[in-house]
Symmetry: C2
Subunit: 205 residues, 2 copies
């Protein structure tokens, strides 16, 4: 529909996740009239990630060196490992500033339908990190969905034999700022199960 190079760019942009044909066209025409510097910076950023980014040999997070910034940081508590599905989850947890331990990025979740088994994830590498006995707790922070729960259950069982290693799972419940009325029944059920006592006695089941 367009002259060659414009159409080439629209085609390439249209392959990106979340960018449809209309969005690709909009971005392409934005760039056509943009400062050439902007285009250069974007093209350079692409070349840079192709050339510089690799994955941390310890935790599997994105890195620019053999290890990622978190694994290289001596202030991070090496006795706590938070297991996540992907690097984006590391960033999400880092934004909370609640966790001062280290991470382990599995590279996905167990998904029998999608053909992803434990052997396709960085499970062996996780077990290896527990070998020297320095880890006291593994926090399973896989997604609160079917695949993430299956992965957490699998890992919890796998890690049971490691004495001195506690295995925990992130709490499920109502999202803060949410509206109880609009919570789905599974989330609301979990919120009941996980209710915390504010005063007196033990809650009845």
């Amino acid at each position: 529909m367009y002259e060659g190079v414009v159409q080439d760019l629209i085609d390439e942009l249209g392959r990106l996740p979340g960018v449809g044909p209309k969005g690709a066209q909009r971005i392409a025409f934005h760039l056509l009239t943009a400062d050439p510097e902007d285009i250069t910076r974007l093209a350079d950023a692409l070349v840079q990630i192709r050339e510089k980014v690799r994955f941390c040999e310890v935790c599997g997070n994105v890195a620019e060196a053999e290890q990622c910034r978190i694994c290289l940081d001596p202030r991070r508590d090496a006795s706590l490992i938070c297991v996540v599905e992907q690097s984006q989850d590391v960033a999400a947890i880092e934004r909370t500033r609640e966790f001062r331990g280290r991470y382990h990025v599995l590279g996905g979740a167990i998904n029998p339908i999608g053909g992803v088994g434990p052997e396709d994830l960085r499970v062996r590498e996780l077990v290896a990190r527990l070998a020297d006995g320095s880890v006291s707790e593994v926090i399973l922070a896989t997604d609160p969905n079917l695949e993430g729960e299956a992965t957490a259950t699998y890992l919890a069982r796998l890690l049971t034999p490691f004495e001195g290693v506690r295995v925990s799972r992130l709490a499920s419940g109502l999202p803060v700022g949410g509206d109880l009325e609009y919570a789905d029944e599974v989330t609301l059920g979990r919120a009941f199960e996980g209710r915390r006592l504010l005063s007196g006695g033990t809650p009845s089941a």
Copy 2:
């Protein structure tokens, strides 16, 4: 939040229209795990448009040479000029395969609030194309919104002195495949005004 080059790419992607911070992150991580060839093709496409794309010296459409493909195509009827706001509109009309004339891209629409007047658009170039008397009709295909209508009204008046040049405007009415019930009142009003007689007599106003 991320290692330098990943964050750089997320920042650059986040500047694109229609791509928010979450979308930028999603695209960046998609590219991190994509075939390096994909990244190369996207980066190349960016460099290509920066270096190769210019605007047709006749109609103002995007082009890779001094003139665009449509102005260079001898099969296109040079006596018909369809005036549009931007190159994307040319592509939209080309997709209909209804129009075999040529185009004139204004580069926007008159918008007093946004500070865009006729002198900021390619109006002078349009008038120049009518000088040799070879043009028989100018079809005003600016957007059916406030700015587009103002631009069409302005151009219709401006072109009145050109004898032998008809000036027309695209029809407004109900979108095909739409639902009358959900049409806005202005569109529905236009659809009444522009109603076509299917049999017998003239419709009463």
